[in-house]
């Protein structure tokens, strides 16, 4: 099929950047969205132009590297799907597709469609872990975890750190990402001792990084490829309230 693309091109962090139109032809509908961009890049290199930079690695929806805003939707039109898992059969011949990077102050553009998401790592550094020095652990069966808690913890832990939630949030908030981790660890008995310091630390790091505040609009969850629900945000809020009252 033949497609018109409009892609955000930006040479570097300091560059202003703009949308640039391209036309490409002969795209198979079995190709993935990123494979379509591979084809475009081969074409650009052949023409002596700079290929479009975009992040990707696993191409199977788990590493969280791929991160494209496609026609104004984080990871494109298909629900519960990362950009790399989106396939061209979602489109028809002659379509125009706009491709932009995640837009957030906390995710500055590095080049073209590549952004810097290290602010997520800094949120984790501020408490997104359970302190368990290697070799000190008791037997794995020492602490049973009720299955519903373990399952809920898993569902929250399924977050791939892609940042689509931030990209989709009208406030540019990192709430869903942060809350998914708070919920995962807070649902496990192992996570209880640090539960309060964790949430205070992470929220402070989140705000420090320049993410916006959450006003519960729910765009994040709708864009999340791992379907992380808004209940994790509720959990974070409840934990935060308790922790803040205790600290006060």
């Amino acid at each position: 099929m033949k497609l018109r693309l409009r892609i955000w091109r930006q040479a570097g962090a300091e560059d202003k950047g703009k949308m640039v139109p391209y036309v490409i032809d002969g795209i198979s509908e079995d190709a993935s969205f990123l494979e379509m961009l591979d084809v475009l890049n081969e074409q650009l290199i052949a023409e002596g132009e700079d290929p479009v930079a975009f992040d990707h690695d696993c191409r199977e929806g788990i590493c969280g590297a791929c991160s494209l805003m496609i026609d104004g939707q984080a990871h494109g039109p298909q629900g519960a799907t990362t950009t790399c898992q989106l396939h061209m059969r979602q489109y028809s011949d002659g379509d125009t597709i706009d491709i932009e990077p995640w837009r957030a102050g906390a995710f500055p553009v590095v080049k073209d469609l590549v952004v810097d998401r290290s602010s997520f790592d800094r949120i984790i550094q501020a408490g997104g872990y359970i302190s368990a020095p290697t070799g000190t652990a008791p037997d794995a069966h020492a602490v049973p975890v009720p299955k519903p808690d373990a399952d809920a913890a898993f569902s929250a832990a399924a977050c791939i750190g892609c940042g689509a939630c931030v990209a989709a949030c009208p406030n540019g908030s990192g709430m869903l990402f942060m809350a998914a981790k708070v919920a995962h660890l807070g649902l496990m008995p192992q996570g209880q001792p640090e539960r309060h310091t964790r949430v205070l630390g992470m929220v402070a790091a989140h705000d420090e990084a320049g993410f916006g505040g959450c006003t519960n609009t729910g765009e994040c969850s709708a864009a999340c490829p791992k379907e992380i629900g808004l209940d994790v945000i509720g959990r974070l809020n409840a934990d935060f309230r308790k922790a803040a009252t205790r600290a006060a």
Binding site: D71, Q73, A106, N216, G218, A222
Partner: protein
């Protein structure tokens, strides 16, 4: 935000209920307005309750608007470059992004008029303070239909604001699980509809002559 919002919600519900005294006739309504002012007299000075409520209300409103401004500015900084391609929202509160801030502004403008109109009576033909009923009726006479339209507009904005605001506040304060979140959303919608309808009915009733 959530705490001030909840206070405002409580006020608005009480206020709506109070307004419905209109349907009981001038005496009842004015008695109610009078009651608010003379509550606790002579133990308490005139208008004590009213002023406590007013102070609470002002504090809540100031806090609410201040945090709204803070959040809005943070959001603007958190997305310095806008998307070229924009799409309608698809989240659970898909009207929120569009309606909360502009709706809030509409409500502010409305309030200015509303206070001048029914509290200070600056723009209201009925200057007699104890005659709340008369003021209301005078405000919404058919000739003053733009006033009615303004009120209706505000009430709609308020409805949207409540639909999101109520569950949002619950989410922020209590953090319900999936089941309770869905319930809260339904309750919020119900309250929003009831409150909007409760407010809207008064000016409509006056304008269409059901109350005079």
């Amino acid at each position: 935000m959530a705490v001030s919002g909840v206070l405002l919600v409580l006020f608005i519900i009480a206020h709506m209920a109070g307004n419905l005294h209109v349907f009981e006739g001038p005496e009842e309504m004015n008695a109610y307005a009078h009651g608010l002012r003379t509550f606790g007299e002579p133990l308490l000075p005139h208008e004590t309750l009213l002023w406590i409520m007013r102070l609470g209300l002002i504090a809540a409103a100031v806090a609410h608007i201040a945090s709204a401004i803070v959040l809005t500015r943070r959001a603007a900084r958190a997305r310095p470059v806008r998307y070229a391609h924009r799409r309608p929202a698809r989240g659970e509160s898909r009207h929120a992004a569009a309606t909360m801030r502009w709706g809030g502004v509409v409500i502010v403008f409305f309030l200015v008029w509303h206070l001048l109109d029914l509290t200070f009576r600056t723009v209201n033909p009925v200057k007699d303070a104890p005659d709340a009923y008369g003021a209301v009726v005078a405000s919404f006479t058919p000739e003053r239909w733009p006033v009615t339209v303004l009120y209706l507009l505000a009430v709609i904005a308020l409805g949207f604001h409540l639909r999101h605001g109520i569950w949002s506040a619950v989410q922020t304060i209590a953090g319900p699980d999936h089941k309770w979140r869905k319930r809260t959303q339904i309750i919020a919608l119900a309250v929003a509809v009831i409150v909007s309808a409760g407010f809207a009915i008064v000016p409509l009733a006056v304008t269409f002559g059901l109350v005079s």
